[in-house]
Amino acid sequence: MGIGAIFIVAFCIALILLGIFIFIRIVARALKGQSSCGDCKNCRVENCPSRRKENSQKD
């Protein structure tokens, strides 16, 4: 296996790990009730965890 192939395999493994990590994080946050739809800009409801975080960062 050449250096290019090794690099690609490493990249793909990193991609898989990243995908698994994001997936677990999304599911865990949703189950804990910390996740929102991610559509904060279009949202009319302020009292949601994501929006509160966004507002406090802005302040």
Partner: protein
């Protein structure tokens, strides 16, 4: 110079637009009442003020939750100044709140918004004279056009620095005597309410507000004395009702002020353009057909040639440019075969397949933004409320349901405006039946593959079906679990306005950005997880035949359950499971499972499904449980896992029944003819 400022006004008078202009925020703005249901705070760009945008209220006598939020904030948080924004085209009614705010004895600036509309109507407002009569600075603005916004903060700074408090209003003699008498009774409780002046409490007690009596900790003898004064006051009036009498006194004062300062056009009595449009679009016979026609045209436009053309460009970009580029690199590097499968069949098919629907999403939300900004969506709520009320359902459920067309999560949270817990639980259970934006990708794929000629009509039928199922289930729930009266729904119809390009484009862009972020996170991770589950056996060995994979085995186990609905393949079953994480993942997982995207995915599913089973599958996707984020919100808002699980079970049951009915009835009809 700094301080805390409360931004207060009637619903839909432009508070959030002014808030955004003052703070540089991008809070959601809509041309209908009730957009803001909770207070939000931001720092002004100029000056050093913390400004709090409060939900719109008509008076300080609160009836609903958002009105209580505003009243509590003003009384308990004690802001340094109040910006009272009023709609210049509706000045009498808006000044009613102003009069009550004056009673609070706080530094105050009156901002008259929509001055461009006032001028267009041929009216004029003598702001200098009005300022003298009310004893506070007045700033005429047009928040939408950002006209004269800087002056607002200058005047706020001025009233805080010089402690300019508007003088007490003198009402008619009878009212004034009653207020003075009450004032003398409650004056000794002064230490209990240092922040709020007594004329406010005197007026509240005269109205019969029990909460104020509690706040002042009045003794029994004081309460009796106050009651005596009110009874005397009632006797002397034609209304014989304490609340109406004080309202009448306030309106008399307002009428006098308006008579002296506002010059209205003589032709005011004739119908405005808004009235003329409403005569047609809210007509009792025409309203529903017009609403359906508008929705149908919107879907036809969304899935018409423009959307298709843009989708094709993205598809070419994904398949011919990006996929070829990756393939070339892998080939040159002599990379192992599984990396091809991961990157091309997994990531590119999954994420790329979803991206091809971006133009349709953009066009649909562009159209919805235009409808909302113009004021038509408020009419849609009004029309549907009329229809729902006849069926015994509350129109208050409608706003969250309309929001459900965008996303279920905020729609579920929007049910907080409903005070009745049973009504709220019922609405939460119905909202997921509305077709959210994410489900659009599923319809676009299947309708594009099977119903090319009537794509718009088929997708439109999904939206209508979701709404009809919600009504039917709502009626059933109301007759069984949630018996009782429904709350009255009062909604103000805003005037029609020309949609602002900036606001429409901003809303559309926000929606597209949200979609792209979702593609880069949820869909990306789902594609990889699905690829892994589809390519590895339960003993974690890579398999060539995906039916031997973890997903293949799980899918094969549950597939027979869906066979009576017309889609008993393991791939279809598994894609429904992935839809539990996000609805777009249904399409991306089909892409990964079949190793295709865009038109090639359409070609694959055309060979696996029939038009009838495809429709049945779309219906199941429309009605079954929402994504995990929405489910978590339902659990949180219902305050119990039991209710959330019951809601999910009900949705799966309904989805199964309706899909079964459609597929079996369709098959039967097909056999007969």
């Amino acid at each position: 110079m700094g301080g805390n400022i409360a931004l207060i006004g009637n619903p839909n008078c432009g508070k959030t637009t002014l808030f955004n202009a003052l703070t540089g925020s991008n809070q959601y703005v809509g041309n209908w009442a009730g957009v803001t249901v909770e207070k939000k705070t931001g720092r002004t760009i100029k000056g050093n003020f913390n400004i709090t945008d409060l939900p719109g209220i008509y008076s300080l006598s609160p009836y609903s939750l958002e009105e209580r939020i505003t009243k509590d904030y003003v009384i308990n948080e004690n802001p340094d100044a109040i910006i009272n924004i009023i709609d210049g085209t509706n000045i009498e009614r808006n000044l009613y709140l102003t009069v009550q705010l004056i009673e609070l004895g706080k530094p105050m600036v009156l901002v008259i918004n929509m001055m461009d509309d006032v001028a267009a109507k041929g009216w004029s407002i003598d702001c200098d004279y009005l300022s003298k009569l009310l004893g506070m600075p007045i700033v005429p603005i047009s928040a939408r056009k950002s006209e004269n916004i800087d002056e607002v903060l200058k005047q706020v700074e001025y009233v805080i620095t010089h402690k300019i408090i508007p003088p007490e209003i003198t009402y008619d003699l009878k009212t004034q005597n009653a207020l003075n008498e009450i004032y003398s009774i409650i004056v000794k409780n002064i230490s209990d309410a240092e922040k709020i002046p007594y004329n406010f409490y005197a007026a509240k007690l005269l109205e019969g507000d029990e909460e104020s009596a509690k706040n002042l900790k009045l003794e029994k003898s004081q309460l009796e004395a106050v009651e005596k004064v009110i009874l005397k006051y009632e006797k002397n009036s034609e209304y014989h009702d304490r609340e109406s009498m004080l309202a009448d006194a306030r309106y008399k004062f307002i009428e006098e002020v308006v008579r002296k300062t506002v010059v209205k056009n003589d032709s005011e009595e004739t119908m405005t353009i808004s009235d003329k449009i409403d005569a047609v679009v809210t007509n009792r016979f025409l309203a529903i057909p017009v609403f359906l026609l508008i929705m149908f045209l919107m879907f036809s436009f969304t899935f018409g040639p423009v959307g298709k053309f843009l989708s094709d460009i993205i598809e070419i970009l994904v398949n011919d440019v990006i996929a070829s580029f990756i393939s070339e690199i892998l080939e040159k590097a002599n990379a192992p075969q599984w990396t091809y499968r991961l990157l091309l069949d997994g990531v590119v098919s999954g994420v790329g397949g979803i991206l091809t629907f971006l133009p349709q999403i953009a066009i649909l939300f562009f159209c919805l933004s235009i409808l909302e900004d113009s004021g038509y969506m408020a009419r849609a709520a009004f029309i549907t409320d009329r229809f729902l009320r006849r069926l015994g359902l509350s129109g208050k459920s409608f706003i969250p349901m309309i929001m459900g067309f965008g996303c279920t999560t905020p729609a579920v949270m929007a049910t907080r405006t409903q005070e009745n817990i049973n009504e709220r639980r019922m609405t939460i259970m119905l909202v997921p039946f509305m077709s959210c934006g994410a489900k659009l990708t599923i319809y676009a794929l299947f309708a594009g593959a099977f119903f090319k000629a009537n794509k718009g009509l088929v997708i439109f039928s999904m939206y209508i079906l979701g709404f009809l199922v919600a009504i039917a289930v709502g009626l059933l729930l109301k007759k069984t679990i949630f018996k009782g009266n429904m709350a009255l729904f009062v909604m103000e119809l805003p005037p029609y306005r020309m949609p602002m390009p900036k606001s429409v484009l901003k809303n559309t862009w926000d929606k597209c950005k949200g979609f792209l972020v979702k593609a880069g996170t949820v869909i990306f991770s789902m594609s990889i997880v699905i690829w892994l589950l589809q390519n590895f056996s339960p003993s974690f060995h890579m398999v060539d035949d995906s039916s031997q994979s973890i997903f293949g085995i799980i899918g094969a186990a549950i597939a027979p359950v869906f066979a009576p609905l017309g889609f008993g393949t393991w791939q279809a079953s598994v894609s429904l499971l992935s839809g539990l994480v996000a609805k777009e993942a249904v399409v991306s997982s089909l892409g990964v499972l079949y190793g295709a995207g865009g038109d090639s995915l359409s070609a694959v599913i055309s060979s696996v499904f029939t038009p009838l089973s495809a429709y049945s599958y779309m219906v199941f996707c429309l009605l079954y449980v929402p994504c995990i984020s929405a489910f978590a919100t339902i659990k949180r808002e219902m305050g119990s896992l039991k209710w959330a699980l019951a809601s999910a079970a009900m949705q799966i049951g309904v989805a199964y029944l309706v899909s079964l009915l459609i597929y079996q009835a369709g098959s039967l009809i097909g056999r007969i003819f």
